[in-house]
């Protein structure tokens, strides 16, 4: 009974209620969609970080991460990699030789990180081979093929089959240089990485710097399940005590920070939206109470107790808030579903996102949890908004309320 009275009371002032419902709808729609978009952005970043760049777990020489010098290499790393590859929960593992170097084209030069990979094994761990936009993945060139990023290619003004020269330090400290031929150009969402990283064959790089054939600087491990990285990291660490074993979260704290602060940021944004709407709701409900003083007086006179009056005003407020909330969530969802496949192109906003490692095309994620979290916040907002008008209603004295002329 109270529910139906409350619901009908909302529609006594159609325009007034519609205005606040529309405001709620727009605010919540914007919140839900932004949240879905943000979640998409973060998940894409994590996916790119794991699937293209770092993989789940990496092993290094204990001193390497502090000081990435070629001399801090791991011995027998190809064997270790094979052992890890056969561990339960591990999908694939591969070794990488990493050397900081100078790259130069006929026109200009730049600092660069040269990663020597075993193309077959690497393609089981990372999906870099899918990111080739021109040429091929270290193939199609007989001697010294090199894979460079699109941004790097633009900077050096080179194309597929152009020649570049790498200059680097050997294991013994001597400087050496070698000519490479661009086999392919890749493009990924992380612009900084693209500008800083080139790939060559591990064997070519080993020959160049004089590293042992079994040596490497990095072992990258891809897992079957995204969630098991801590367990398996501990297992690997227990087995190879003299190596440094880290998960992607430890290797890229900035990425895991974004993931962990995503919810807090969204609660904050929605909190601000709802805080503004709070005053609108209070105002609407206050008007609804003040124009019904006589009726509320009559209801109390004939025996409606304070709990029921309070509940009625509460219900009216919550129903008002939730009508806007539900429409807003549905609209936000529809837009999310609509853009889930096509994505939203943010490149018009400049390449700042890309430089920070984010895709310019974001695919929002329809997540039921978002709706649940938003609804909870609207519920709390509704409760807060209802308190003042409901208290106003309770303070009415029936004898006086009935005497007032309106």
């Amino acid at each position: 009974m109270l529910w139906s009275v409350a619901w009908r009371n909302i529609w006594r002032s159609k325009v007034r209620s519609l205005v606040i419902i529309c405001a709620l709808t727009i605010g919540i729609f914007a919140g839900v969609f932004t949240w879905a978009l943000y979640e998409g952005m973060v998940i894409q970043r994590i996916n790119s970080a794991i699937k293209t760049e770092a993989s789940h777990i990496q092993l290094h020489h204990k001193k390497y991460l502090e000081n990435p010098d070629v001399k801090y290499s791991m011995n027998l790393s190809t064997r270790i990699s094979e052992q890890i590859d056969s561990m339960a929960g591990v999908k694939a593992a591969t070794v990488r030789v990493i050397v900081n170097s100078m790259i130069a084209s006929a026109e200009t030069g730049s600092g660069v990180q040269v990663v020597g990979i075993d193309p077959d094994k690497e393609s089981r761990v990372t999906n870099m081979y899918e990111k080739i936009i021109d040429g091929e993945y270290l193939e199609g060139v007989k001697r010294n093929p090199i894979l460079i990023g699109k941004r790097m290619a633009e900077k050096l003004n080179v194309n597929v089959r152009s020649k570049v020269v790498l200059t680097m330090q050997q294991m013994d400290g001597e400087i050496t240089r070698a000519q490479f031929k661009v086999a392919g150009i890749y493009k990924i969402s992380n612009g900084m990485y693209e500008e800083m990283t080139v790939f060559v064959k591990k064997s070519d790089l080993i020959n160049l710097i004089g590293l042992d054939r079994t040596g490497s600087h990095e072992i990258a491990v891809l897992l079957e399940d995204d969630r098991t990285y801590n367990d398996i990291r501990d297992k690997i660490a227990a087995r190879y005590k003299d190596l440094d074993v880290k998960s992607w979260k430890e290797l890229m704290p900035e990425v895991s920070l974004v993931e962990e602060t995503m919810d807090i940021s969204m609660y904050l944004i929605l909190g601000i939206i709802l805080f503004a709407l709070l005053f609108g709701i209070i105002n609407t409900m206050l008007m609804a109470v003040l124009e019904r003083v006589k009726e509320l007086g009559m209801l109390m006179a004939v025996g409606m107790n304070k709990i029921r009056v309070f509940t009625m005003i509460m219900l009216e407020t919550l129903l008002l808030a939730f009508t806007g909330c539900i429409i807003g969530i549905i609209l936000g969802y529809l837009l999310t579903l609509l853009l889930m496949k096509t994505g939203i192109d943010l490149s018009a906003w400049g390449d700042a996102y890309e430089r920070l490692g984010y895709d310019t095309v974001i695919y929002p994620i329809p997540d039921i949890l978002i709706a649940a979290k938003v609804s909870l916040m609207v519920f709390v907002t509704g409760l807060i908004a209802a308190i003042y008008p409901a208290i106003k209603a309770l303070k009415l004295k029936p004898a006086e309320a009935l005497r007032i002329d309106i």
């Binding site: 009974m1 009275v5 009908r8 009371n9 529609w11 006594r12 006589k294 009726e295 007086g297 009559m298 209801l299 109390m300 006179a301 004939v302 025996g303 409606m304 107790n305 304070k306 029921r308 004295k397 029936p398 004898a399 009935l402 005497r403």
Partner: protein
């Protein structure tokens, strides 16, 4: 059987500037089944008296005893329940909940009392037919005339089977035909259900129907006349 016993009732309104002695020692009692009018000039204290007897306002002195309870001593939360169980109200206006239909308005108090659906339904139908509005049970108040609305209000007041009904100028907004009609219905229900009716009025035609006429002036009973 005595339904209401009023002893030396006083009410002083203490506003910041004015001090109004609205009731100055009223002694009255009402028997079950009475059909009584309270009359008197404007400002004489009729509304004040009915409000205190109905537990809507607190007395400054004296006692109002209903069913062995001095209602002036009840806490306001207990008072609401007391009103719900024992007293029916008909006001001059704003009697009905505008968003509810006539049927829902009549059932509302029975709802608050927690009466089962079948009982509510039957009582509502009986009363709506007693007030001659069987064909309008699904109309909202805004679709009813002032007289019809007051008849629904009477049905609503009776629905909870109260010990007595208080009506403060129930006909003040009605034309003479509706006034007569409403009084006839009240009289009929008073006889059929033996419900006590106490109403205030300025209207001579209403006074004529009453079987007891209590006149107050300046917060005192100046005459108390029982007819027929």
């Amino acid at each position: 059987m005595k339904v209401i016993d009023i002893k030396n009732l006083t009410k002083i309104y203490n506003d910041s500037e004015y001090k109004v002695n609205a009731l100055n020692g009223i002694d009255l009692s009402f028997e079950e089944g009475e059909f009584a009018a309270v009359v008197g000039p404007s400002g004489s204290g009729k509304t004040t008296l009915l409000n205190i007897v109905g537990g809507l306002d607190k007395p400054s002195g004296g006692e109002v005893i209903i069913d062995h309870t001095n209602i002036g001593k009840l806490k306001s939360s207990r008072l609401i329940d007391f009103r719900l169980k024992n007293i029916g109200f008909v006001f001059q206006a704003y009697n009905l909940i505008p968003v509810l239909t006539a049927r829902e308005n009549v059932e509302f108090i029975m709802h608050l009392q927690g009466k089962p659906k079948a009982e509510r339904e039957k009582r509502m139908k009986d009363l709506m037919s007693a007030v001659g509005l069987s064909d309008r049970i699904d109309s909202r108040p805004s679709k009813l005339s002032g007289g019809q609305q007051q008849r629904v209000a009477v049905a609503r007041a009776l629905a909870s089977k109260p010990k007595f009904i208080l009506a403060d100028e129930p006909t003040a907004n009605l034309d003479s035909k509706s006034t007569e009609n409403l009084l006839d219905i009240m009289e009929k229900l008073n006889k059929e259900e033996n419900t006590t009716f106490i109403f205030s009025t300025h209207d001579a035609r209403v006074v004529k129907k009453a079987r007891r006429v209590i006149t107050i002036e300046d917060g005192k009973v100046v005459s108390d006349e029982i007819r027929k």
